[in-house]
């Protein structure tokens, strides 16, 4: 069920996921937060199927669906400043990974998390650094100029607040990769993007267990893509 956050929290309340118990639950701002995370909306499975079938380039065109639903937002290209084609998409991803990497570095430095949660946060941070290195190298390999490293600024408050922010950031990252999948030309670059995409999703799902009302699959059975415009607007406050 995509929208059973309340119900899930109730069910989760008496029993924690083990690592959750290491965090103090903090309900402040939860409603607002959930609203923000949730507005991407549950892409209905019908919309998904229509989108999947509506513009197949290889299969026989069947009659268009009677009710057209906007396909999941995707395909919108990244800003030209990132470069053209796959290099542009990679530089867009690199920019996001730079921000994630810096975010985790600050979180780790703040020593907000200990024990099992602390280990996971450190692991995730190291994985974002791997993403940065891999994408940077790939841009160079394709003959492009890697995007400049942005300077991030992140509110590092309580562990609960940081967990919420991390959850938001990872969900955004997963949506960002999903939004570009259809625009990547090179199968190798696509394979790499897919390999990173699902790791961001794993991070998001893990962090969901640290956030009151967090949901492993916040949009249900089908994840939503996000356009570069949406993602860049969302991260703007985190760039100095």
């Amino acid at each position: 069920m995509p929208n059973d956050l309340e119900e899930r929290e109730d069910e989760l309340a008496p029993q924690t996921r083990g690592i959750v118990e290491e965090l103090v639950r903090d309900d402040v701002g939860r409603k607002k937060f959930l609203k923000a995370v949730g507005t991407a909306g549950a892409a209905s499975f019908g919309a998904f199927v229509l989108a999947a079938c509506g513009s197949s380039s290889t299969t026989t065109k069947t009659k268009p669906p009677a009710t057209t639903t906007a396909p999941p937002a995707a395909a919108a290209s990244v800003p030209a400043s990132f470069g053209a084609g796959d290099i542009g998409i990679l530089n867009y991803a690199l920019t996001l990974e730079y921000l994630e990497d810096q975010f985790y570095a600050k979180v780790i430095a703040a020593k907000l998390f200990t024990g099992a949660v602390g280990s996971l946060v450190s692991e995730f941070g190291a994985q974002e650094a791997e993403h940065v290195a891999a994408i940077h190298a790939t841009v160079l390999k394709l003959g492009g100029t890697p995007a400049a490293k942005p300077t991030g600024k992140f509110p590092i408050g309580s562990a609960a607040d940081v967990a919420k922010l991390a959850y938001t950031v990872e969900n955004l990252g997963a949506s960002a990769y999903l939004g570009q999948a259809g625009s990547i030309s090179s199968p190798t670059v696509l394979a790499a993007a897919l390999a990173i995409h699902t790791v961001e999703a794993r991070h998001a799902a893990t962090l969901a267990t640290l956030v009151p009302g967090g949901h492993v699959t916040p949009t249900g059975a089908f994840a939503n893509p996000a356009t570069a415009a949406t993602v860049l607007a969302a991260v703007k406050p985190f760039i100095a």
Binding site: M1, D4, R8, E11, L12, Q15, R17, G18, I19, A43, F45, F48, V49, A52, C53, S55, S56, T58, T59, P71, A74, L120, F124, A126, Q127, E128, E130, H131, A134, I135, A137, T138, Y177, L178, A181, G182, P187, T188, L190, A191, A192, L194, A195, I196, H197, T198, V199, A201, R202, A204, A205, T206, A208, V216, T217, G220, A221, F222, A223, P225
Partner: protein
């Protein structure tokens, strides 16, 4: 380096197009049939023999989604799950069923015939062994979709598959946390699997 990390001979050959893609699928299915018998591989073989269309890949995915749905919606009820594990199995089962429905509809809308639902046999009897297998199956699903994604010709179907695989990855991470296993078992990059590799794990779970 990203390309080294993801090294996968099949992927490297992609640019030559349909022939390589077909041989990729057929090779995997035939290898699996040799190991597990044609019954086990049947759902895949029937797809693989005509493996030049996205429909075949969708049918491959559909078989895996049938497996996952059956696992969560039928097997899960027999192993005594409680608490969060029970809650997750119920939710994940509904989501896998939604994947089955979506793939079935996508195959039909594309002019294809969905593979019939196989019957499955899951060698687990306890909550603990169920969750261990769930972790394997979900991670397998991620690898399968990530391996098949670059083979899809339709960008729309790729987007759809991406939408599903992200959810499989979320399931895998959540199950991992439940049983004290890593939510990111292959580190910063999920490892794609080809059909033979997927069948090596899924084949023994398929009765016919």
């Amino acid at each position: 380096m990203i390309t080294e990390r993801l090294a996968n001979p099949e992927l490297a050959e992609l640019e030559v197009g349909g022939v390589t893609r077909a041989s990729f699928l057929v090779r995997g299915a035939v290898a699996a049939a040799a190991v597990y018998g044609t019954a086990a591989a049947a759902p895949f073989v029937s797809s693989a023999l005509g493996a030049t269309s996205d429909i075949d890949i969708l049918n491959f995915a559909l078989t895996l989604e049938y497996l996952e749905t059956d696992f969560y919606q039928v097997k899960a009820k027999t192993v005594g799950l409680t608490g969060l594990a029970k809650h997750d199995a119920a939710n994940f089962g509904m989501e896998e069923a939604a994947h089955v429905a979506a793939l079935t509809q996508a195959i039909k809308s594309s002019g294809g015939t969905p593979v019939p639902k196989p019957t499955f046999s899951f060698p687990v009897a306890s909550a603990a062994s169920f969750l261990s297998l769930a972790y394997v199956v979900e991670n397998l699903g991620v690898s399968a979709y990530n391996g098949a994604g670059p083979l899809l010709k339709s960008k729309a179907l790729l987007a759809a598959a991406g939408s599903i695989v992200q959810v499989e990855a979320r399931h895998a991470a959540a199950i991992g946390l439940l049983i004290g296993k890593s939510p990111t078992p292959t580190g910063g990059f999920d490892t794609p699997k080809n059909m033979a590799q997927v069948l090596a794990v899924a084949g023994p779970l398929i009765k016919k």
